[in-house]
């Protein structure tokens, strides 16, 4: 399969891992349509070499839902004056859910900024004619509004607010965004610099499950220090209901997948036979109640542990990519694909998913 090509049907796609409503996420560096240069989704990624500030979770298809606002245009908005003048556009939103917001501004006149939100979303201000798009989580259940301030007038049209469900990940700090790259064989990946690059989702509710399957197609560039590929909670070392995939773990030519309930950080660590630079398809599986943690590399199990993980389920917490808690243990390498599935996964399905991940980075399994 050529680099970046699409699967024809869900049956061959990681989306099939989520057809029964499984919690999780799928990030696909080969799909440029899911990436934006900024964390608010205003500027799409259009070429390699650009930073990725927002990456959409494809687990649910990254499909926009129906328009929720009831008013789609506001014409001749009056001068706002020094105080904000708000114009409700109706509809209801759900806190913490992500929406794609679009509107067109025309006949802008005056000074100062026009805004969108009215405490519904993070502030989004514009001061010129144009068509604008944002992808933002709702920060309240307040009815969205457009508003003017200072001394300006404008027409708003083509207003739409559409849910964009998924556990999307962001990085607000420009210098900490991974960069979209393409390797010598044409496969796309996100480059994490091993310094300060990382991304994070909002809270992902894994609290209803104690089984987890994690797939990652990576190239590890260095074995000099522990690197977080993905970790649930700010530290899997001490937080109940965490898991983590590391490349490497402590300065060595290895990998580790770990998991735990009330007893955290039960790890399955590979032999030190994967010296960087190296590309591998990694699969971590864990079962808290079953006291099982396994790690597969390129389709073969290389480590396992039956250590006691205690009790309980996984956490309702943030997924961190590239750094622990967004601050330490930076991953130095490439991320081609990452799939997190909050469920046990049978052997046949694991093999199919591993083949998919491998196909996106030139590894035949």
């Amino acid at each position: 399969m050529a680099a970046g090509s699409s699967c024809a049907a869900h049956g061959n796609s990681p989306r099939s891992l989520f057809v029964n409503g499984e919690q999780g996420a799928w990030f696909d560096a080969s799909d440029m349509s899911t990436m934006y240069q900024d964390s608010a989704g205003t500027t799409p990624v259009t070429a390699v070499g650009q930073p990725v500030g927002l990456m959409l979770d494809k687990r649910l298809g990254a499909v926009r839902g129906a328009v929720v606002n009831t008013t789609t245009s506001v014409n001749g908005v009056a001068i706002g004056g020094p105080l904000t003048t708000a114009y409700s556009i109706g509809g209801s939103i759900t806190i913490n859910e992500v929406y794609e917001i679009q509107f067109t501004v025309s006949d802008y006149a005056g000074t100062g900024t026009l805004g969108f939100g009215s405490s519904s979303f993070a502030s989004a201000n514009v001061s010129a004619n144009g068509t604008y798009r944002y992808i933002l989580p709702a920060v309240s259940t307040r009815v969205p509004a457009l508003f003017t301030r200072d001394t300006n007038t404008a027409n708003f049209s083509n207003i739409s607010i559409r849910p964009l469900p998924g556990n999307h990940r962001t990085q607000a700090t420009a210098a900490s965004r991974p960069t979209l790259r393409q390797d010598a064989s044409g496969y796309y990946y996100l480059e994490y610099d091993g310094i300060d690059d990382s991304m994070a989702t909002g809270s992902v509710d894994f609290s209803g499950m104690d089984k987890m399957t994690v797939f990652a197609g990576i190239n590890k560039a260095s074995d000099a220090a522990s690197g977080v590929v993905v970790e649930l909670t700010t530290t899997s070392s001490a937080t109940a209901g965490s898991f983590g995939l590391f490349a490497p773990v402590t300065a060595a030519a290895n990998y580790q997948y770990r998991s735990g309930g009330t007893i955290p950080a039960v790890g399955a660590q590979s032999p030190a036979s994967y010296a960087a630079p190296i590309s591998n398809v990694l699969t971590g599986q864990s079962d808290i109640a079953g006291d099982s943690v396994t790690l597969r590399v390129n389709g073969s199990q290389v480590a396992s542990s039956a250590g006691d993980q205690g009790t309980g389920n996984f956490a309702n917490s943030v997924l961190y990519f590239g750094r622990r808690g967004g601050s330490t243990l930076p991953f130095n390498g490439r991320e081609y694909q990452t799939i997190i599935r909050g469920a046990a996964t049978d052997a046949t399905t694991i093999q199919r998913a591993e083949r998919f991940v491998g196909s996106r980075m030139g590894i035949s399994l």
Partner: protein, 112 residues
């Protein structure tokens, strides 16, 4: 958007100002200089680093102390900005790991 890759290493004595000015420059400057460095790779941090793609206009700003000082809207004297920029290492287009090594520093690690 025009992006350029910049590595900036700021001594600990100047990092509060660097963080303040980065945040004043742009919303996307919030969160810079939170990765610690030291000669041994152990705490405490003697320097702080940010490395990655930033907007070209932001990179250009770093070459103009007065423009940087203006970000603080009179709250920070020009001399403080000049001292911060003089004491910092600012490189465009270089491998950040090489820059860290050249400075005799190492990323501060954390027990797994």
């Amino acid at each position: 958007v025009n992006w350029t890759h910049v590595t900036i290493i700021v001594p600990h004595a100047h990092v509060s100002l660097a963080r303040q000015l980065a945040a004043a420059a742009a919303d996307s400057g919030v969160g810079m200089f939170l990765t610690g460095l030291s000669a041994s790779g152990a705490e405490p941090a003697t320097h702080w680093i940010s490395s990655g793609l930033i907007q070209q206009e932001f990179a250009d700003l770093l070459k103009d102390p007065q423009a940087v000082a203006d970000l603080a809207q009179g709250q920070v004297p020009l001399s403080a900005v000049q001292a911060m920029l003089t004491a910092s290492v600012i490189r465009e287009g270089e491998n950040p790991h090489d820059v860290i090594s050249e400075c005799g520093l190492a990323l501060i690690g954390e027990p797994l």
